[in-house]
């Protein structure tokens, strides 16, 4: 007990890492819809306007309400993250804030534009002419892309730092703005994540209407709301496989220790096998798992003679630990597996769509499609785990270690904060799900009874039905 207490008071590193991982993993859930849902809503909005389709307009307007609700949650979880940089990693920001902050400063601008234009889009449905409303809405996708670029620019700096001049004592003397923003890994990190966001958002939205198909709803509303996001997401899956492959191969040069962890390679060698599953131990042996001889080397350079970097090429204290390497490897395998499953689903969909000129009608297709949403979120989480766990023990790759950046606050403080955050985040999740389910139930009810009401009436944010003079709330139009 005594030892436990001493441990609690002494070390803030473990709880800080858990807290950062937890809050980031949670925030990442908000990101795909934040980045890509506006595009899908605008696509539907465009169909509605240019084909004069009231059903498409109704779908777009409902999606815009979901946009606003999830923006609010994302704004809160994002604000928490920005404070955690100070509460948990003050020394990181003290040393590299001027470089890391460049991307975040641009993100601040993007965040601002998103906040305002989501508001304008939500209010504009009844208060602007349809085309003006649509054109103003078109500023949302670029704002989402700008936000993605800026956050990924900051993350890429942590992976492959560049554009900085350091003094002999490691002080940051100068920053070259473009050099810091466009580091080596930005090219693949940015495209890989942007495509992932569009795939995940498309599949998760479509999966809701796949479920509604399974429950027997087969009208134009269901078909349209399923087909538009599903088609876009499916089209992007093979592209993602290519970008993902390029990313992995770039790591051989950019972050060899991370690549070694992803492939659980112990010693640098040619004819390196590819392990599917499997765990490496402290002696460098791989247990379980299926080994495909020389396949890793072939993936690296299309040649079994290609040399794959091993974990031992880096000093023991400068590479991921055994546990971290195994997490990185399994997360990587999971991501690749789910990505490949997405491609299979894409082929299935297009074979039916192009071969029979109609949407699939097999229950098994819609069962699979209804899992694609969750599957792509799991893929994003595991891809993110691959990137971040594989970067250990560095917070800024090869320049600053995580344990040199952590707060000097007592461990007990960070543990307590973590416990409170777990509770509070559970509450947020409950509210988020309650609000969304409430909206969905109400919309379904209205469709069945053919009621026409403003879709945002059940959301806690956005335009309100006007207050009557007696303080009662007038029923919405």
């Amino acid at each position: 007990m005594m030892r436990f207490h001493t441990y609690l008071a002494a070390d803030a590193l473990l709880p800080s890492r858990i807290q950062m991982a937890f809050t980031l993993a949670y925030h990442v859930i908000m990101v795909p819809l934040g980045v890509a849902l506006p595009t899908y809503a605008l696509l539907m909005n465009g169909i509605g306007i240019f084909k004069n389709d009231p059903v498409a307009l109704r779908i777009a307007r409902r999606w815009s309400v979901v946009m606003a609700v999830q923006f609010a949650v994302g704004a809160v979880t994002g604000t928490i993250l920005s404070f955690e940089f100070g509460i948990l990693w003050p020394r990181l920001m003290g040393r590299y804030g001027a470089a890391l902050g460049l991307g975040f400063a641009i993100e601040g601008l993007a965040f601002f534009l998103e906040a305002i234009f989501i508001g304008i889009y939500l209010y504009g449905w009844t208060r602007l002419r349809p085309k003006t409303h649509f054109l103003l809405g078109l500023s949302l996708p670029p704002a989402g892309v700008l936000g993605t670029f800026s956050v990924l620019a900051s993350n890429s700096f942590m992976q492959t730092p560049g554009g900085i001049t350091l003094s002999s004592t490691g002080q940051l003397l100068n920053v070259d703005v473009l050099g810091v923003l466009f580091t080596r890994s930005l090219g693949y990190e940015f495209w890989h994540f942007l495509i992932a966001a569009y795939i995940a958002a498309g599949f998760v939205v479509a999966s809701i209407y796949a479920v509604s198909w399974l429950r027997g709803r087969r009208d134009r509303y269901q078909r349209l709301a399923f087909a538009v996001p599903f088609t876009v997401a499916a089209l992007l899956t093979p592209l993602q496989l290519v970008v993902g492959d390029l990313s992995a191969r770039a790591l051989v040069v950019d972050q060899p220790a991370k690549f070694a962890a992803m492939e659980i390679t112990w010693k640098t060698r040619s004819h390196n096998p590819e392990y599917i599953g499997g765990l490496i131990n402290g002696a460098g042996q791989v247990n379980f798992g299926i080994a495909i001889p020389s396949f890793d080397s072939i993936l690296i350079g299309l040649n079994p003679d290609s040399v794959a970097p091993g974990l031992t090429a880096a000093a023991a204290d400068a590479r991921p630990s055994i546990a971290e390497a195994n997490i990185t490897h399994l997360a990587f395998d999971l991501m690749v597996g789910l990505g490949s499953a997405g491609v299979v689903l894409m082929v299935w969909y297009f074979v039916v769509l192009l071969g029979r000129r109609r949407l699939p009608q097999s229950r098994w297709f819609y069962r699979t499609a209804s899992l694609a949403g969750i599957g792509s979120y799991v893929a994003i989480e595991s891809g993110w785990a691959t990137t971040e766990v594989g970067r250990q023990p560095w917070i800024v790759y090869n320049l600053m270690r995580v344990d040199d950046a952590v707060t000097t606050a007592p461990g007990s403080f960070v543990w307590a904060m973590l416990a409170l955050l777990l509770v509070v985040y559970a509450v947020i999740a409950i509210i988020f799900v309650t609000v969304l389910l409430g909206l969905v139930t109400r919309w379904r009810h209205e469709d069945e009874r053919q009621l026409v009401r403003a879709p945002e009436a059940g959301a806690p944010y956005g335009p309100r039905p006007e207050l009557a003079a007696d303080g009662s709330v007038r029923s919405s139009p």
Partner: protein
């Protein structure tokens, strides 16, 4: 050139803190009055008005907070490290209050039963009190001189909780209630609720008195702890803003007391803005009084240039679109009044 850039970044930082104090203050203030409304038909009407007035905001005020954080760590990394290494408890508490507040505002809206609504409303109200208190206490802790480079020069808990930080927290509560009531008067008038206009008029006048009292106490606390800063606020760059706050506060009280509905909202913005400016300019050229100047903690020029560009873009892109959003919000209200 570098010095000019760093000073302009410091000014941008002060502006974002001010914007958050004003926009967040209106919002938190509504939460405080929600908490204090009590029970009964009148309280229900007050809460309906508050909910109506706050609905368009949906956490967008956090943008100012995030901008302030980002400008701080990009423009003044050493300041950021020092402040957080010293005052992390205050920020953790403020953060928890901020999350609970947003969550329970939404929760109350979707909750159907009256007792559940009341309980969720209490959490919303209490967190509306705690968040501005802790944020302002952090500014007070900096003003007290206890935040030194790389960490506090006293134990962390003393750096966080001392006469100046607590006094700053109390002033912020009074100022928040003050600006919140003032804007709710405007909302009640806009929605045509004369009884609520009087209800919040009275509360704005009370908040004016409380603000004057807590402000005086805060000045006394600051005088005891950091007389250099106090004199810089009274005789120095902070002076015009201190004077503006001292004059504008009672003017708002008198205007609302006498039911003169002109300028009261602008003047309450002036009050809150002047209070923040009096602190900021009073401290200059120090970011941490007596410890760290703007020049000493300024990031390399590249970072300052990028921040200037982003600031310019915020002014060019964000302000007009914010104007459009406000216009749309108001226009809807006008339409329904005609109809």
């Amino acid at each position: 050139m570098t010095a000019v850039l760093a000073s302009s970044t410091a000014f941008v930082l002060l502006l974002t803190i001010t914007a958050y104090s004003v926009a967040g203050g209106v919002d938190y203030g509504a939460g405080i009055w929600d908490l204090l409304a009590g029970r009964g038909a009148r309280a229900d009407r007050a809460r309906a008005l508050i909910e109506q007035a706050m609905a368009p905001v949906w956490e967008a005020n956090n943008v100012w907070l995030v901008l302030a954080i980002v400008v701080c760590w990009t423009g003044f990394p050493l300041l950021f490290q020092s402040v957080f290494a010293s005052l992390y408890p205050l920020f953790a508490f403020a953060l928890l209050a901020l999350i609970l507040r947003g969550a329970f505002f939404a929760f109350r809206h979707v909750w159907t039963g009256p007792s559940g609504r009341r309980r969720t409303g209490v959490v919303f109200g209490i967190s509306s009190v705690l968040a501005p208190f802790f944020f302002a206490a952090a500014l007070g802790a900096i003003a007290s001189g206890r935040v030194a480079v790389n960490g506090p020069n006293t134990p962390v808990w003393q750096a966080c909780f001392n006469p100046t930080s607590i006094a700053f927290g109390l002033v912020s509560l009074a100022a928040t209630a003050f600006i919140g009531a003032s804007f709710l008067v405007g909302d009640a008038r806009r929605f045509g609720m004369p009884d609520m206009t009087d209800y919040f008029r009275l509360r704005a006048v009370i908040a004016t008195a409380v603000l004057i009292i807590t402000g005086t106490i805060a000045l006394a606390a600051l005088g005891l702890e950091n007389s250099r800063l106090l004199s810089a606020m009274l005789i120095g760059l902070g002076t015009p803003f201190a004077v503006a706050a001292v004059i504008a506060t009672p003017v708002v009280g008198v205007l609302l007391w006498r039911g003169i509905f002109h300028w009261y909202r602008v003047l309450s913005v002036v009050v809150v803005g002047s209070l923040v400016f009096a602190w900021g300019f009073g401290q200059s050229p120090y970011l941490l009084p007596g410890q760290l100047t703007i020049a000493q903690s300024a990031a390399p020029p590249g970072a300052q240039v990028l921040l200037s560009i982003v600031t310019l873009l915020v002014v060019v892109l964000v302000l007009p679109s914010l104007g459009l959003l406000v216009y749309l919000d108001q226009r809807g209200a006008l339409e329904s009044q005609e109809g």
